[in-house]
Amino acid sequence: MAARPARERSVPDATTLGFLAAALVAAAIGLWLGGATVVTQSATDTALLSLQILPQLACGLMIGAFVGVLLPRDLLIRWVGEESGLAGLAIASIGGAFMPGGPFAAFPVIHALYRAGAGAGAVVAFLVAWSCVGVNRLFIWEIPFLGTQFGLLRLVSTLPLPLLAGLAANALVRAFPSLDTPDKDGG
């Protein structure tokens, strides 16, 4: 019984093996539809991008771990825990809308907060606000590429979305509690 964990560590877990299988399928499809250049080009791009995001990913993981230590758990749960209701969703939505940085830094922090006790609705609201409302994206991409008028139209049209998604997530978790698994770690 006690010998199992040591063995499991050396073998990639099921999720990682799933990713490996999917990558092999993707390579086969790429070879079939686009030829060898698609696969070699993708492999080169992947290696470059992985190296590029490595420092940010490492920062994100450490920030997540430090925040887990520094942020009092009862405060986190009071603000954005399962019982925090509409106010918790609003706090998470505002936080997500102004969260800077790409997914490589954002996801480790969000994952740490989820494990520390943030409610599923608040985490969903945060992610939808970060990806859809994304105030900093307005200045970096939308206004330069598509103009101020369009940027404002997009911003106003997306404002209600995080709250709606958070409310839906809370209702879903109430109906299907097994959807809410912060400590399963995806593995």
Binding site: M62, F145, L153, S157, L179
Partner: protein, 167 residues
């Protein structure tokens, strides 16, 4: 690229110093936790990026614009949602595409639906970061909570355009 990285490095250092001062005995466990998380996703993330990159090279992008013009209404919003959902790639790929689609005569409300759909369904982000870190159940929960939002945002934009002259 360096600006955000410097910001993140500064934040990491500041938080690390705070932990070292306030709870030094927790420094070791916190770093071990970060390393454990890193080991868990270290292989999954490059594999996910590879899958998304292959997909990005196989999907044709030129056929989109004419289908989602300003006169295409709700049908165009639904089409734009579908296009946004299958559009892999980060913002440096998607915004040039949005601009191209825009130049080909797409409507504003339809572009809103396209961008929101890309934000919600972002294949590359789900494969590269969300699935490896948050797990399949959380991805299912988020998608179940948010799948209807892209057409909704498009409809809101469609309603706002005649109401607010500035849009």
């Amino acid at each position: 690229m360096t600006g955000p990285l410097l910001f993140l490095l500064g934040l990491t250092l500041a938080l690390g110093l705070l932990v070292a001062r306030r709870a030094p005995h927790q420094m070791g466990p916190a770093l071990a936790d970060a390393a454990r998380q890193g080991r868990k996703i270290g292989l999954r993330i490059p594999l996910g990026i590879f899958i998304a990159t292959v997909l990005a090279q196989l999907i044709p992008r030129e056929a989109i614009g004419p289908v989602i013009g300003p006169e295409s209404g709700v049908r165009g919003i639904l089409a734009a949602t579908a296009f946004g959902a299958i559009m892999p790639g980060g913002p440096m790929v998607t915004f040039p595409i949005a601009l191209m689609v825009w130049d080909m005569g797409a409507g504003k409300a339809q572009i809103v639906a396209f961008l929101v759909s890309w934000s919600i369904f972002a294949v590359h982000r789900i494969l590269s970061f969300e699935l490896p870190l948050m797990g399949g159940r959380f991805v299912a929960l988020r998608l179940l909570s948010a799948w209807y939002l892209p057409p909704l945002a498009g409809l809101i934009a469609l309603a706002l355009i005649p109401l607010v002259p500035a849009f």
